[in-house]
């Protein structure tokens, strides 16, 4: 080592600040009675179509807003607003592959939280990075679609281990793919024994009732 070089020990995980911010945000949302759902999936799994179906089913029972996180564009936020009439805002991650708690808080600052029961955060389409960063949500959920294959829980173990709800979308195309639903459930439960699995088809609406019930129940428990 060069003369005069001084070493300063830091010994700090780079996730530490984010975890603190996430816990603080979660506590604040709990106090306000707002349930934040962090919804994740790979690109093209049908997050936005599922949200439109779901929101239209529950919007008369709970007051809901949606935050769309993408690297660029506002197509999703516009689509949600047009199809459901609920407030939706678009967050840009500036090239980042995930949202963290600070970005989530900045997004929430643009939503009038008072009087809301539910905010759904549609995270960046990606099965790797979003799993590593706590957003401060009450619950993590993900959508896996049939064309992606039933082996995904084995390939992306962290994502499946942090999600307590796995929605299996595009059930209508099952006959065209070698997707084994039982195997998929088995793999999901290997990663997270507590996970609830709900098969749906966002296009036809099949199974979306059950998803809505799950969510309404979650919101009720969060407010107690």
């Amino acid at each position: 080592m060069e003369d005069g070089v001084k070493v300063i020990e830091i010994k700090k995980s780079i996730f530490e600040d984010n975890e603190k911010e996430a816990d603080a945000l979660r506590a604040e949302l709990k106090r306000k009675g707002v349930y934040l759902l962090n919804l994740m999936s790979s690109p093209g799994s049908g997050k936005t179509t599922t949200l439109i179906r779901l929101v239209n089913l529950i919007k008369d029972q709970v007051r809901v807003a949606v935050m769309e996180a993408d690297i660029d564009s506002d197509v999703d936020a516009v689509k949600i607003k047009e199809a459901t009439g609920i407030p939706s805002i678009q967050l840009h991650t500036g090239g980042m592959c995930h949202l963290d708690a600070e970005m989530t808080r900045q997004g929430l600052d643009n939503v009038a939280l008072d009087g809301l029961d539910l905010v759904i955060l549609e995270n960046v389409g990606n099965l790797v990075c979003p799993a590593e960063f706590d957003t401060g949500s009450a619950q993590n959920a993900m959508i896996l679609s049939v064309p992606e294959g039933h082996d995904k829980p084995l390939k992306y173990p962290l994502m499946f281990s942090i999600c307590n709800l796995v929605v299996i979308n595009k059930m209508d195309v099952m006959p065209y793919f070698d997707f084994d639903l039982d195997k998929c459930k088995e793999y999901i439960h290997m990663r997270n024994p507590k996970a609830t699995v709900i098969p749906i088809c966002a296009k036809t609406g099949e199974g979306v009732d059950e998803l809505a019930q799950w969510l309404l129940n979650e919101i009720k428990n969060w407010k107690n």
Binding site: M1, E2, G4, V5, K6, V7, I8, E9, I10, K11, K12, S13, I14, F15, D17, N18, G95, M96, C97, H98, V128, C129, E132, P157, L158, M190
Partner: protein, 114 residues
Amino acid sequence: MHELGIVFYIIRDVKKAALEHGVEHVNAVVMNIGEVSTVVPDYLTDCWRWAADKEDLLRGCELRCNMLPAVTTCNACGKEYPTVEHGRTCPYCGSEDTVLKCGNEVEIKEIEVL
């Protein structure tokens, strides 16, 4: 996969530490990276070079990665084994009830300053 994002977190934490210690320039940042942290050290150092050179505090600053081995503990038989080689299945008793003991670290170990 998300190395640039991680670099931004490192820069934020190093800036904070430099401010606390009244440091004007950092010569090197030493990271502890677990084998199964999903961080690729080569990508991390590439992203680091691009981002660090934009900061006065970090211009020319080197990023060094210490790799830490991943070890898994088996809840069934209590033994420990190397994670990368055997994954989630215990090589001693075949149980899948195993838990990662270490190896997913992404931490700043220390910084070197003049």
